[in-house]
């Protein structure tokens, strides 16, 4: 048995969503820090999937296929937003994190609204015009932040060594998240830090990966997140650089809501 015996029964219940209340919360806490149990959870979900696959019944009605294809035709794909994995250069320090994050979140929300708008605009020309205008807005807003010559100074108590730290700015109503890290230790090759949104209920949600730059700074900007996810806190683990859908290593940093 690769999992912890005392959690074995509850893990099976959790895998089929039959665990509730305090037991569920306790399981999620345990899962956040136990990779063996997370692996077993995936196995158990696979076992449960056999039940789903065993169902046989009538085929869906013919009209269902056309209904789906009609719906798909009405929903041209919105370009997927990808978690920002590139580290940012030295422009974070000038305005301070809060101002920077607020500007970025605002800019991102404009971008997001633009994406939503794209879906509904009837004309491609109108879309292009609108996009250009809003992109220009974003550039104008971000201009004071992105000057490459900006100087970054970390201020610490005398004789103190700078410690790794990070701040997550999360706007739940818009699904916007900006995470800024400083003094992060270098990583082994092919590894990256992965940010996790730890919800009040449910499993940790991947919230982007980042690699620190030579000065230990890293950022994640607006990773794809499920709408309305309520964050209890955020945490960081070290994962493969492509990121992992579930945490597979111990938490190296964790915070609480501010």
């Amino acid at each position: 048995m690769s999992t912890h015996e005392q959690f074995a029964d509850d893990l099976a219940l959790y895998a089929v969503d039959a665990l509730t209340g305090e037991d569920r919360a306790a399981m999620e806490t345990h899962l956040a820090g136990c990779s063996a149990c997370r692996v077993e959870l995936e196995q158990l979900r696979g076992d449960g999937a056999l039940l789903a696959l065993s169902t046989l019944g009538p085929k869906p009605p013919q009209r269902a296929r056309q209904r789906l294809l009609d719906a798909v035709a009405k929903e041209p794909r919105v370009p997927a937003r990808v978690a920002q994995t590139e580290t940012r250069r030295s422009w974070w320090g000038v305005l301070g994190w809060a101002a920077t994050a607020a500007a970025i979140v605002f800019a991102a929300s404009l971008w997001k609204e633009n994406a939503a708008l794209k879906q509904t605009l009837a004309s491609a020309n109108a879309q292009a015009t609108q996009s250009a205008r809003e992109l220009e807005d974003i550039r104008r807003i971000a201009a004071p932040i992105i000057e490459p010559e900006a100087q970054v100074v970390t201020v610490v108590a005398l004789k103190a060594q700078p410690q790794p730290g990070g701040k997550a700015f999360y706007l739940r109503s818009r699904g916007s998240l900006v995470f800024l890290a400083t003094n992060m230790p270098p990583l082994p090759p092919n590894k990256a830090y992965e940010l996790w949104l730890i919800p009040k209920q449910g499993a940790a949600i991947a919230a982007g990966v980042f690699k620190p730059d030579a000065n230990g700074r890293g950022t994640v900007i607006n990773p794809p997140l499920p709408p309305g996810a309520e964050a209890k806190t955020f945490a960081i683990t070290v994962e493969n650089e492509a990121g992992s859908p579930v945490p597979t290593s111990p938490v190296v940093m964790i915070g609480a809501g501010e």
């Binding site: 074995a8 029964d9 509850d10 893990l11 099976a12 219940l13 895998a15 089929v16 969503d17 039959a18 665990l19 509730t20 209340g21 995936e42 196995q43 158990l44 979900r45 696979g46 076992d47 449960g48 999937a49 056999l50 039940l51 789903a52 696959l53 065993s54 169902t55 046989l56 019944g57 009538p58 085929k59 869906p60 009605p61 269902a64 296929r65 209904r67 789906l68 294809l69 719906a71 798909v72 035709a73 929903e75 041209p76 794909r77 997927a80 449910g202 499993a203 949600i205 991947a206 794809p224 499920p226 996810a229 859908p245 579930v246």
Partner: protein
């Protein structure tokens, strides 16, 4: 096929639908017992796949199993009249066979039904109540009048029995 879907190829939806709609619909119908509602779930599952194909991670499971599990989640959400509680990205299904071909799926389904049929009835019942009715362990205990610990063990043992059947 999933790559084509990610690239926005609408014909990929049709092909994936032709391959997997029967399993998605069967799961939804099993949970809901209503053809209209099952059709709505079928529609939603494939639309979700179209909108967010990246939610399916081919490295961690097979598409057929993933869709079946998503269908089960959505059908139970529908049954309990609640908003979707599980995010697609959270659904990771390892080890299960893909069963893209109807004949393979029929064989596997027959095997699973054989395994379930051989389980002691209270164990089978607890497993099915959790999986297809979306009942919690305490609801199952309340319904059957059995201790919580017994229900927990039955569900786990049931899943393990299924696993063993497909490991050999």
């Amino acid at each position: 096929m999933v790559t084509a879907l990610k690239a926005g190829d609408q014909s990929a939806v049709a092909q994936l639908y032709d391959r997997y709609s029967s399993v998605v619909y069967a799961v939804a119908l099993r949970v809901l017992g209503d053809t209209g509602a099952a059709e709505d779930v079928l529609q939603e599952v494939f639309l979700q796949l179209w909108r967010n194909p990246a939610a399916f991670d081919a490295a961690r499971g097979t598409l057929g199993s993933w869709l079946a599990v998503i269908a089960r989640h959505r059908a139970i959400d529908f049954l309990r009249k609640r908003k979707p509680e599980t995010d697609l990205e959270d659904v990771i299904v390892s080890v299960s066979p893909d069963l893209a071909r109807e004949a393979d799926r029929s064989r596997a389904a027959e095997k699973v039904r054989g395994v379930i049929g051989a389980m002691p009835p209270p164990q089978r019942s607890a497993l099915e109540m959790a999986y297809f009715e979306g009942l919690s362990h305490s609801e199952i205990a309340g319904k059957t009048g059995e201790p919580l610990g017994t229900i927990k063990t039955r569900i786990r043992t049931g899943l393990m029995t299924l696993r063993k059947a497909f490991q050999t």
